[in-house]
Amino acid sequence: MAEKSGPSFLRRNGPELFGALSLLAAVLVFEALVRSGIVNRFVIPPPSDIVLAFERVIVEENILGRFRDTAVEMVIAGFAAVGVGVPIGAFLYRSALWRRAMEDWIGALAAAPIVLAFPLFLVLFGRSPKTIIVMGFVHGLAPIILKMVEGLASTRPVLINVGRSLKMTSSQMFWKILFPSALPVIFTGIRLSWTFVLITIVGVEYLINLGGLGQLINELAERYDLPGTYAGICFVVLVSVLFFVILERVESWLQPGR
């Protein structure tokens, strides 16, 4: 079959293409603004300088190693938040008393700027990656707990009745009806959670001047190496993109029908 590749290629890759083009356009606009002097180049370096700085930060600043450090902290804190938050959420769903007692506190935890509590964590865990991971974990926990409870509670009653009419045990009911029904909402929670985790990890690295990308950005900024600083920030964005791509893959693999 001689199908025309043009329209179907556009239909399939249109959104990505459009995204990439608009990013490029934004970069060009900034380039023009900075070069024409409308925007001060000591506030925002021209994008071309940032691109040139990539080589420097990779070769001289070992950014790939730092990228790895941040990514590892992110993996540990992110998965720990899921591993701990999901069972806590399931427990709170079961126990109405605990749920009413805890829900507001957990909501407050989700909204609190945990990063600012870094001195407390420094005392507890010392100036080590442990502090960074624990803080990321704590900040990432609340959204998962809340969304887990919400997801389980939003299971359609008729599906629960189907389970009851089939005389399912409560563990069958949980694993075969409640949990799969809650999955889309849980994934929303994970997405929120991992955003919080990354912000906290890079933020704390920056504040206590330890570890991966956060520390590097701190150092480069103190040296007034603006193109380098922005190149470092680009790598932070890369970490986040990486995690969200993985998450999306896992999600569509786990729930193919939706």
Binding site: R156, S165, M168, I177, S181, R258
Partner: protein
């Protein structure tokens, strides 16, 4: 004692003086009021009544989902107060699992029973075929129409071959043509398996097409108004809809039902105008 229309010699299911009230104090609603009837082994009985008369409430009681009621629903000697393994339920609302394919939805009860994979797929396949969805086995519910999803739920209930099939308006989401054709399927299944069936419906033609007897309910409180035996010959197909006898039954039952339905309408209209008056 002579048998009347509401009694059978060897009933598979007995509804005996069942009462269900909701709420308390001044706000009590009697959804089911002293209802009694039974369903014989292999018989097809429909319960018909206007919207809001208490049909789903009765369905939930018989299915064992509402255990707090007065009177008795009996299967054999056992009073129902929890779901009974002999009863298979098809719900009024859409009840497929969106995260499972059609075949995995239908095989679900067998999976719970620990039936091996190949046997469970075979049996699921058989019932999917029966409801006419053979080419959609690998599809997800989100890819199906509402009527097709309802057929998946019916197949999922049939697959465990329940002694008593209990259905709450299973065809409500279907168009008239599909409804008639699926009715044929149900009749066929019922005849093949000698399936004891209790169908809850508000659809007159559906009830007359399928039933051996029809229990007509009153509106608020939900009582048994009359039990009508349908003496149309079996095997029956949807062709019967055109016959004189069919028209006769429909007219007769509509006569009973009209009064109840208009009371139901008046009730909801006055509720609506009360709401409007209150702002």
């Amino acid at each position: 004692m002579a048998l009347n229309e509401s009694q059978s010699v060897n009933p598979a299911l007995v509804v005996d003086d069942v009462v269900k009230r909701f709420g308390r104090g001044d706000e009590v609603i009697t959804a089911v009021d002293h209802m009694s009837f039974d369903v014989a082994q292999g018989e097809f009985v429909s319960v018909i009544g206007p919207s809001g008369c208490g049909k789903s409430t009765l369905f939930n009681i018989i299915g064992g989902l509402l255990s707090d009621y007065e009177g008795a629903v009996k299967i054999g000697e056992e009073r129902i107060s929890a779901p009974h393994p002999a009863v298979g339920m098809v719900f009024q609302e859409e009840s497929t699992f969106p995260w499972r394919t059609v075949i995995d939805n239908v095989a679900f009860p067998l999976e719970l029973q620990g039936v091996g994979k190949s046997e469970r797929m075979d049996r699921a396949h058989h019932f999917i075929d029966m409801v006419g969805l053979a080419s959609f086995e690998k599809a997800f519910p989100s890819q199906l129409s509402g009527g097709m999803r309802q057929r998946v739920s019916i197949a999922r209930t049939l697959v465990s071959q329940p002694k008593i099939l209990l259905m709450d308006e299973p065809f409500a989401a279907l168009d008239e043509q599909t409804r008639l054709l699926l009715g044929d399927k149900i009749t066929q299944i019922q005849q093949e398996l000698n399936q004891t069936t209790l169908l809850i419906t508000h659809n007159l033609t559906e009830a007359v097409q399928l039933s051996d007897r029809i229990v007509v309910m009153t509106y608020r409180p939900g009582r048994v108004k009359r039990i009508v035996r349908i003496d149309l010959p079996r095997p029956r197909t949807s062709d019967v809809v055109g016959s004189d006898a069919f028209g006769h039954y429909v007219a007769e039952i509509w006569n009973d039902l009209r009064e109840e339905a208009s009371r139901g309408m008046a009730d909801s209209e006055s509720a609506a105008s009360r709401r409007a008056a209150h702002g």
